[in-house]
């Protein structure tokens, strides 16, 4: 085929150019000689013959060009020359090239990275098959908070599985277990999953296999699948673990698989260390949990969410009718795609960030355009000369376009590289804000989009000056530079671009200011407690082991056991004080219970944060006692009839009264189930004996909510937590604490979730969230500022350089330096002012929307004013620098230079 042959011919001509050139010359020379020889044989003299041959055939030295023209490579050669010329002119003016290329690169890199992040986090974070169809059923109550999950009996689970809209169903239940057989017992988070896990989740195991239907045989095979992190931690990533045994609660299990790192099952209950077949659950947990199936539902592909909701809602209401105790009175079932919780917590922030980086991309493109336009203006003379010596209009347009594209291309290449680095940044800064499963991959479509935009910007803004300058007013331009005092059409576009860029930058700066202000506020906010040098250590009682359980099942025995451990830890050297609590360690502390206050109208909806603590709690955490006293050790063991409130509670209920001596009651604080135990009248009236200062109990970024503190012995779980204040680094005391615990009961292990309270604050989701947001927005807005300033600086530099002669004339005629300064900078400064006003107006307009989306932002006029001032000061400086240079030139030099 001739097309292929053409390609082959071109390829040869390009890659073996010198050989082809030589062949063409040789062939031509042969022809010339043969022709001349024939002419000689026809009777010419040799000189005459050679002369005629050369006249007829043409010059030998252009034959190569003729050859390349004939085979159609002329355009290619010319473009190559244009590209070379483009690069050369870039290197001649490196500052301009670097700014333009970096602008594009940063814009492309940041946009791609952020979009890839959003895609990974919000659109496709889970490794599971058809993860968009996997639903987490939640119970929505008309009043009160939604319940994110609920457990079903086996029979109910099977009924759910038969629903028409359900494709398949996964059941799971978490539990605690102990890793035995080692020197010290170790706590394990266990997840029992139904044996269809492999097919439902569709995640192939990293080593070995996952849980399979065959594992359900004979009441459950003793097999275990390991979570990747547990495998790394416990087996140091040993690949030979498959087939070995793991002793759990003194029973042997065969390790059959290790899941991949991205498999962080699951978000509902927390990531587990090991996965066991569901069928084992009934045998190994004593007393067995009756409702042991928490469902994840994969709805059929063609069923709408509403239809599935309606069908399953009816089924679950039927369950509620059969077992009224398990469900609240009025509720509605709602299926929620498993991604939704992340969307809720990060969605708006990420969308804002994406908008931010799109603005950055816009600023980058605008920068590039400004530079192209400004440079075009400055090159009128050069182009006029090219045109005058015969360059066609098309040729000049093409050359300018190629130069613009060289910039776009370099920017795109750098941008792609930058995006890989930038995409990893947020996850490194704040790992806890993202689903553990999400693996950030660069999103190719959006990369293509950003790169495309960069090229488009290069073409459009390369074309503007090209079209205008390709038909230069030769006479005027050539006559002298002095003529070019009147601003060209390009100037208006330039000023418009500068103003737009400044407006966008102000928007970014103001948003960053609001985010950073909010974060600084969060950091400065008094917590109400002192997390420094305090750690929390938990113990879980052995309710699966009847021998151990008997002694701690009664309330007195349990309290005595806990108190004994507390005293043992407290007696350690270096430990300042130790408190006992249950679910009451800040910053998210306490459990919501309805509250009833004496002499006030009772409202069942009034809830209060109930903290179960020992009397040492306040001293250990440095929570100030404002009034009254703290209950005694005897009262603590008794459990009933005393309470301490915080100031928020007192403010709400006894605004103008003394809280001490008031009565309150927690009507539903009543232990239930086989594992919990309470004091005789835990739900009875209590007298307020003291009032303490507010300390954060609803997360670090929210003020304390009304709270009531009661003795922990009034409502006891089969576990307890100790807050331990030490001298110096608390975690260093952990080995000693473990020993102290074991000196009380040799098989009592310390739970895994030991943490330093400072870490608790710093790893708080809200905290990391806001820190992430502030850092990223601060980062992007400073980039934007930098880009805008660079653009401004180069635009003014160019215009000043062009007007050198004009300034010379003005100065020669007696203009003062300050006047020159003003003339040089005024246009740019005016654009900056317009940009700032537009930016301010937009910012004020969208502030309310931003405030809602950022959910905690400091929109004081303070931060906006700061951002405005910063931008104004920087931009004026960027304008003045080149203007100063203009003003400092000696008039004679300026004129002579021309």
């Amino acid at each position: 085929m001739s097309f292929l042959a053409t390609l082959r011919c071109w390829w040869k001509a390009i890659t073996k150019r010198s050989r082809i050139d030589q062949e063409v010359t040789e062939e031509f020379q042969f022809h010339l000689d043969a022709y001349a020889a024939d002419l000689v044989s026809q009777g010419m003299t040799s000189t005459e013959a050679q002369r005629k041959a050369r006249i007829d055939l043409g010059r030998i030295d252009v034959q190569n060009e003729k050859y390349r023209d004939a085979i159609g490579l002329r355009l290619f050669d010319e473009l190559g020359a244009d590209i070379r010329y483009g690069f050369r002119s870039l290197f001649k003016n490196p500052g301009y090239a670097i700014i333009a290329i970096l602008s594009l690169a940063l814009g492309i890199g940041a946009t791609t990275a952020m979009f890839s992040l959003i895609y990974a986090v919000l659109i496709h974070p889970f490794p599971y098959a058809d993860s968009d169809r996997i639903m987490n059923p939640g119970i929505m109550t008309i009043e009160g908070p939604p319940q994110r999950w609920f457990a079903t009996f086996k029979s109910q689970f099977e009924t759910l599985g038969k629903a028409k809209s359900v494709e398949s169903l996964l059941g799971f239940r978490n539990g605690g277990a102990e890793l035995t057989g080692g020197s010290l017992p170790e706590d394990l988070d266990v997840m029992y999953i139904t044996e269809n896990a492999d097919t439902f989740l569709g995640v192939p195991a990293f080593l070995g296999r996952g849980i399979q239907p065959s594992d359900a045989r004979n009441g459950g095979q003793h097999v275990v699948v390991l979570n990747y992190r547990f495998w790394k931690r416990h087996f140091q990533g040993d690949r030979t673990v498959i087939g070995r045994t793991l002793q759990i609660d003194n029973e042997n299990y065969t390790i059959v698989g290790v899941m991949p790192r991205s498999f962080a099952f699951n978000d509902t209950l927390g990531v587990s260390d090991i996965y066991l077949p569901m069928s084992l659950q009934h045998g190994s947990i004593n007393p067995p949990i009756p409702a042991s199936y928490i469902p994840w539902i994969k709805v059929k592909a063609n069923v709408s969410l509403a239809a599935a909701d309606a069908e399953l809602d009816a089924i679950v209401h039927q369950f509620a009718k059969e077992n009224p105790g398990h469900f609240t009175k009025k509720f509605r079932l709602q299926l929620e795609p498993i991604i939704v919780p992340y969307q809720r917590s990060m969605g708006h922030a990420l969308t804002l960030l994406l908008t931010g980086v799109l603005l950055l991309l816009a600023i980058g493109c605008a920068n590039c355009s400004i530079l192209l336009l400004a440079r075009g203006e400055a090159r009128q003379h050069e182009l006029a000369i090219r045109s005058a010596i015969g360059a066609s209009r098309w040729r000049i347009i093409r050359q300018l376009l190629v130069e613009a594209l060289v910039i776009s291309f370099s920017g795109a290449v750098l941008g792609v590289a930058a995006s890989y680095w930038l995409a990893k940044l947020p996850i490194q800064l704040s790992p806890s804000s993202f689903p553990p499963e999400s693996v950030i991959r660069i999103n190719t479509p959006i990369l293509a989009f950003s790169v495309g935009l960069a090229f488009l910007c290069g073409i459009v803004f390369g074309l503007f000056p090209a079209l205008r300058l390709s038909r230069p007013d030769l006479i005027h331009t050539m006559q002298g530079k002095l003529r070019r005092i009147a601003p060209g059409i390009g100037k208006h576009k330039l000023n418009l671009l500068i103003a737009g860029q400044i407006a966008l930058t102000l928007l970014l700066l103001a948003t960053a200011g609001a985010a950073i202000g909010a974060f600084l506020g969060l950091m400065k906010m008094p917590l109400g407690y002192d997390p420094k040098n305090v750690m929390q250590v938990g113990i879980m009682m052995h309710w699966t082991n009847p021998k151990d359980w008997d002694s701690v099942q009664p309330r007195e025995g349990r309290a005595a056991y806990i108190e004994q451990i507390r005293q043992k830890i407290a007696s350690l050297p270096g430990v300042t004080s130790v408190a006992v609590s249950a679910q009451s360690t800040p910053p998210y502390s306490g459990i919501n219970f309805p509250v009833q206050v004496a002499d006030k109208p009772h409202d069942a909806d009034q809830e209060v944060r109930v903290h179960l603590v020992s009397p040492e709690f306040f001293a250990t955490l440095h929570i100030q006692l404002r009034r009254g006293r703290i209950w005694s050790q005897t009262q603590n063991m008794h459990g009933d009839s005393v309470a301490i409130v915080n100031e928020a509670f007192a403010r709400q209920y006894w605004a103008h009264q003394d809280p001490i001596g008031q009565q309150l009651r927690l009507p539903t604080l009543k232990a239930f189930g086989p594992l919990m135990i309470g004091s005789p009248s835990s739900d009875g009236w209590r007298q307020v004996v003291g009032m303490v200062a507010d300390s954060r109990n609803d997360g670090v970024n929210h003020p304390a909510v009304p709270a009531v503190y009661v003795p922990y012995t009034t409502y006891m779980y089969p576990f307890a937590q100790f807050e331990i204040r030490t001298q110096g680094e608390p975690l260093a005391y952990l080995p000693a604490v473990r020993e102290a615990v074991q000196s009380v009961a040799s098989d009592q292990q310390v739970s895994n979730g030991v943490f330093d309270l400072i870490e608790g604050v710093e790893h708080d989701a809200q905290w990391t969230h806001q820190r992430l947001f502030s850092i990223l927005f601060g980062f992007f807005s400073s980039l934007a500022l930098l880009l805008a300033l660079a653009g401004l600086f180069s635009a003014v530099s160019y215009s000043v350089a062009q007007k050198n002669a004009e300034f010379g004339v003005r100065m020669a005629l007696g203009a003062s330096r300050s006047h020159i300064l003003w003339v040089a900078a005024r246009v740019a400064v005016r654009s900056v002012l317009i940009g700032i006003s537009v930016g301010l107006a937009i910012d004020l307009l969208i502030q309310r929307l931003l405030a809602r989306w950022m959910n905690n932002a400091d929109f004081s006029s303070h931060s906006l004013a700061l951002a405005t001032f910063l931008l104004f000061a920087c931009s004026v400086t960027a304008c003045l620098f080149p203007a100063l240079r203009a003003a400092s030139v000696h008039p004679v030099e300026a004129l002579r230079y021309e």
Binding site: T6, C9, E26, F28, F30, A34, D56, Q63, A70, I71
Partner: protein
Amino acid sequence: MQKPINLPQGALEMLILKAVSLGPLHGYGILLRIQQISGQRLEILQGSFYTAVYRLERNGWMEGEWGESDNNRKAKFYRLTASGKRQLKEETAKWSDMASVVAGILQAKPEEI
């Protein structure tokens, strides 16, 4: 001597292919053969001749190979390729079609219409 004829567009290429189809030839040889067959009636501009040769080679209709000429000099000999043969056949058919149609029209007499 009759007046020399100027070739219409595209015809030179066809003639070159034809010349080469009779046996491998170098560039100058092609020129000589065409002139010889035409009875020296064709005036081929030597300058544009090579443009046609290069284009034919690019299209893969002829293949060049270096060999030795009669007077023992290195020369590039062109040979028709399979696709060149096809091309020549097509062009020839097209040409004679056109020629006969044009000739038919030009020879038309008033009474035949």
